[in-house]
């Protein structure tokens, strides 16, 4: 009866695929991924490409010369001339985006902490650069100096290849956090159903009278939950890839870069997802089988959803890089290695450490549960 583990696995899969709730947990959560990718890209894009009319209204508390007016027109600035007091009020009410005050040759740019002020102050700086440039040229010409030679005493050119796109790495990482979250959420339901659910429905007593070792019961259940969360994970990955491809074409912020993962990156991403699915399924089975009821199991598993992605998110925002030690720490190792993989770094040591840590944790957790499954605590605890 070596194949009793498969009998349990078969039974669990059958139950899972016939249960509408299990099925929808497995398949529906990934659908949010395209929304996330497209939605966040649209948000980034709207921040970056703010139309100039949204922030070009600038106040001045002094009369402008014709030269100044020319530059203002060229830069599409919408100038408002008024007193300081009025300008202050207009800034507050949002009628103007910032205002400039002048005392002798000192100009002050006044603004608040709004987004439009930030954009407007960039515009104001361009304006003053142009104006200063004009005044300097005038001065040099009136003193008979060759102005171009002085003004262009050095020449600065930019040659920066934009391989590391800030938005690209952001969107890919967030998609990954969401995949991790989707796997976690989708593992909790079948894990609860297979343990606490079976207890609550009263079938566990029957199961325990069968000539099956508790090891086979637990491993069978563990594999079925892993299978379900893997489906969620892989479906999420597929949808991520598709929506990244769409976003790549749709938004100018990704212009000139390729959001597509290479084939080898994809293969390693799949490995990370499979490893994580196994880990989270083991943890969920362990926690849920210690619970008396379905409800208790569900609430015991809720914190896991946060633990699954929160530390990783912090690590990502702090810009920490993978070390051998980090590669061993569950949860954050998956994010770090995934981030490496998507930026083309494939470090076999790190991947091996991640896999070993996953296997060890699963083995320990399952061993504890198998031992407990023999005792009556499972049935009546």
């Amino acid at each position: 009866m070596k194949n009793n583990m498969f009998n349990i696995l078969k039974k669990e899969l059958r139950e899972m695929f016939r249960d509408k709730k299990s099925l929808s947990m497995m398949l529906i959560i990934p659908i949010f991924i395209p929304l996330l990718v497209i939605g966040m890209s649209a948000l980034f894009e709207s921040e970056i490409n703010m139309p100039v009319t949204d922030y070009n209204t600038i106040g001045f508390d002094y009369e402008l010369t014709d030269v100044e007016k020319n530059i203002i027109e060229e830069l599409e600035i919408n100038a408002v001339i008024d007193t300081v007091e009025n300008l202050g009020e207009q800034l507050e009410s949002g009628e103007i985006d910032l205002y400039v005050t002048k005392e002798n040759n000192v100009y002050t740019i006044n603004g608040d902490d709004s987004d439009t002020t930030t954009y407007a102050s960039n515009l104001a700086e361009s304006y003053f650069n142009a104006y200063k440039n004009y005044l300097q040229r005038e001065y040099l010409v009136s003193h008979n100096v060759l102005s171009d030679e002085v003004l262009n005493i050095i020449v600065l050119e930019e040659n920066i290849t934009v391989e590391e796109n800030y938005f690209a790495s952001y969107i890919i990482s967030y998609a990954f956090f969401f995949i991790i979250m989707a796997i976690t959420v989708s593992a909790t339901y079948p894990a609860t159903d297979a343990t606490a659910g079976e207890k609550e429905r009263g079938t566990l007593e029957t199961l325990l009278t069968f000539p099956i070792k508790s090891k086979d019961i637990i491993i069978g259940k563990f594999l079925s939950v892993s299978f379900s969360s893997m489906i969620t994970g892989l479906l999420s990955l597929i949808l991520t890839v598709i929506s990244l491809k769409i976003a790549n074409h749709m938004f100018t912020i990704y212009e000139g870069i390729n959001l597509m993962l290479s084939l080898s990156s994809l293969i390693f991403a799949v490995i990370v997802i499979i490893a994580y699915s196994f880990l989270i399924s083991g943890l969920c089975i362990a926690i849920a089988s210690k619970s008396k009821s379905f409800k208790e199991a569900q609430s015991a598993l809720t914190p896991l959803t946060f633990i699954s992605f929160f530390p990783s998110m912090i690590i990502f925002m702090m810009g920490i890089t993978t070390t051998n030690l980090y590669a061993l720490i569950p949860f954050i190792n998956y994010t770090l290695i995934f981030t490496d993989i998507t930026s083309g770094i494939i470090n076999y040591t790190h991947i091996l450490l991640m896999l070993s840590s996953t296997i060890i944790i699963i083995a320990v957790v399952l061993k504890i549960i198998i031992k407990e499954y023999k005792s009556e605590k499972v049935l009546f605890g």
Partner: protein, 252 residues
């Protein structure tokens, strides 16, 4: 031969003041059942019947005492023993999402019934228990009586040597109960050993070779129904039982 010796099982229960007190749900129960015997375990609710039968079926571990099946014990031969047992209780639940046929196939696989025999056996059992009309339906859609028939079918699938039946007829109508009682008699004829608990005394009187009366976790009398009636100078087991616990009450 099935032999349980001096089985004790300690549980913890909470009092009104939320104090935890230990008590024995079984306090030294012994049973010996030979091939072809039906042993009735009788007693009121809370007597300790379910606890005892769960220990025999290997679902609970006794606090002390030993259980052996043909010299095998749970510690060393758990799966070996369980292969030869069928356990069925009045509120045994089975998998609602499976069809009867799938459930029986699964049980056949689990109990190691040869692949080639399983199919024929399922169809034969289905015929015997009159299950053909709903064999391919999901268990969740069946009536209580039909579900209990599926349960019996599941018990028969591996042709076990021992049946452990805990109030298997409780909550069933007379027709469904009769199906179960017939099944018990049939299996006895085949030389199977049956341990059978009930709180319906009349039912037990009819089919049991030997009866064990328990109350509050201890045996208050045992033997053939005739012997017990003679012991208590009564004409049926119900009166016998009341007589027996009357004495118990005086002692308290």
């Amino acid at each position: 031969m099935l032999k349980a010796e001096n089985i004790k099982k300690k549980f913890v229960k909470l009092t009104k003041k939320k104090e935890r007190i230990e008590f024995y749900a079984n306090n030294g129960i012994s049973v010996e059942a030979h091939d072809g015997e039906i042993i009735g375990i009788l007693g009121p609710n809370g007597a300790g019947k379910t606890t005892f039968l769960r220990i025999i079926a290997g679902i609970l571990e006794p606090t002390s005492g030993t259980v052996t099946f043909d010299e095998l014990n749970y510690h060393d031969n758990e799966t070996e023993i369980k292969k030869n047992i069928a356990y069925l209780s009045g509120n045994t639940k089975i998998y609602n999402t499976l069809s009867c046929y799938e459930l029986l196939h699964m049980c056949a696989d689990i109990y190691g019934v040869e692949k080639k025999d399983a199919e024929a056996r399922i169809l034969e059992i289905s015929k015997t228990l009159d299950m053909d009309t709903f064999l391919y339906n999901r268990i969740g859609s069946l009536s209580t009586g039909q579900t209990q028939r599926v349960n019996i079918a599941r018990c028969l699938i591996h042709n076990p040597k021992y049946y452990i039946l805990d109030e298997a007829t409780s909550g069933l109508d007379i027709i469904s109960s009769q199906i179960i009682l017939n099944f018990i008699k049939n299996e006895k004829k085949k030389g199977k050993t049956i341990l059978y608990s009930t709180h319906y005394m009349e039912e037990a009187e009819n089919i049991c070779d030997k009866v064990i009366m328990i109350n509050k976790g201890v045996i208050i009398d045992e033997g053939t129904p005739e012997k017990i009636k003679k012991d208590t100078k009564t004409t049926n087991l119900r009166d016998a039982f009341f007589k027996l616990i009357e004495g118990d009450n005086y002692e308290e």
